[in-house]
Symmetry: C2
Subunit: 222 residues, 2 copies
């Protein structure tokens, strides 16, 4: 059976431009991995041999400091790419839940891109959009208060995970509080208090474990 034909993220992936025939041929040789919670598909400092396209699940990108402090530089959702360049990975990418990825050897991509020059353009464009996301994150950390950070974060996951529960004002967080805190540059306690405060101001209706219900004052649009 042809796995690719079921693929939700194909239009956003590098295989979008391939013909049905090519897809079939790839589908046979391709490595589809399922990744267990907590397992890494890339490790900080190690060489990257494969481009991974996330088909389902969520990943966190982790940077460790020498002294054990940890910063999360991003979260990756279905359709996102991990390992776009052969250079050593600048982060560790760990699954937050059982996930599915589609793995392309860079050697294979080089080969493939002779036929489909668009593949490399797509990688360049993806790279730029990753950079733009990183810059959003920089602005968030450099200029925003705790409340602004938490709201931005909720918008981020709200957008990324839309479709699972379309238009629902209820968001499921696939990561523990510590990960959110390490992403937002806050302590877990501050995050907790900020959730509480946002409940008071009507931005959130309920915050219960990993479920957050958005309130009146919250605008997903922004």
């Amino acid at each position: 059976m042809n796995f690719c034909s079921l693929c939700d993220v194909r239009p956003q992936s590098i295989c979008a431009e391939m013909s049905e025939e090519e897809i079939r041929s790839i589908s046979r040789t391709m490595a589809h991995h399922s990744v267990k919670e907590g397992h890494a598909i890339a490790t900080e400092g190690e060489p990257v041999t494969h481009l991974n396209v996330i088909v389902s699940g969520t990943f966190r990108l982790v940077r460790m400091l020498e002294d054990g402090r940890r910063q999360i530089t991003g979260f990756m959702f279905p359709g996102d790419f991990v390992g776009m360049s052969r250079t050593d990975s600048s982060y560790t990418a760990e699954a937050l839940e059982p996930s599915l990825v589609c793995s392309f050897a860079h050697n294979f991509l080089d080969q493939m891109s002779e036929k489909h020059p668009g593949i490399k353009d797509r990688l360049i464009a993806r790279g730029s959009s990753e950079l733009a996301k990183a810059q959003d994150h920089i602005v968030l950390l450099g200029k925003n208060t705790a409340e602004e950070r938490v709201l931005s974060f909720l918008k981020l996951v709200g957008r990324a995970r839309r479709g699972e529960d379309r238009f629902s004002p209820r968001i499921y967080l696939s990561m523990p509080r510590q990960d959110i805190a390490d992403y937002l540059g806050l302590r877990m306690e501050t995050l907790s208090r900020t959730f509480a405060k946002l409940k008071k101001t009507g931005h959130l209706k309920t915050v219960s474990g990993r479920y957050v219900e958005l309130g009146e004052a919250f605008e997903l649009a922004g």
Copy 2:
């Protein structure tokens, strides 16, 4: 006369892999711009038509928030690339001093890359290293104290501008305090106080306007 033959940054640029003959032919058609202080070679939200390679000078990458707050997402030095993808620019790039850039139309690059497939690989690799730099910045803003931020910043410009004054413990800052503060996610006053504190701790010997002399306790190596 052949301008490219004098180019300091060629080995790091996309023209590194071209033959002498090609360089000559490019050199004739190429746009070498001099950019006045304060002028932009890319504007947030506007489409990018050219890849700019910085030949000399310094640029700041600026993001404006709706309310007028400003975040600087990076500084660009000779050898760096601005505008690697055709997508709309995610920042404004402004010259901090009279600068020189070498400008390649993306159309031209596409054409060129048929002959030199390495060009796109180079762009992808550059993109990754930009992303890695952005992630360093994220860690800086998310996890570091004011002192750590200022020290990292000095290391950054120290490395980038080495060569002008090789091994000198004296660093010239091509940007005003406000830009440094907006880069580090601090207020100017805090930056100033942090400089003062670092002088006390022996990390800096003198801080006078745009010149900073490093002290004993400062390790450029890290």
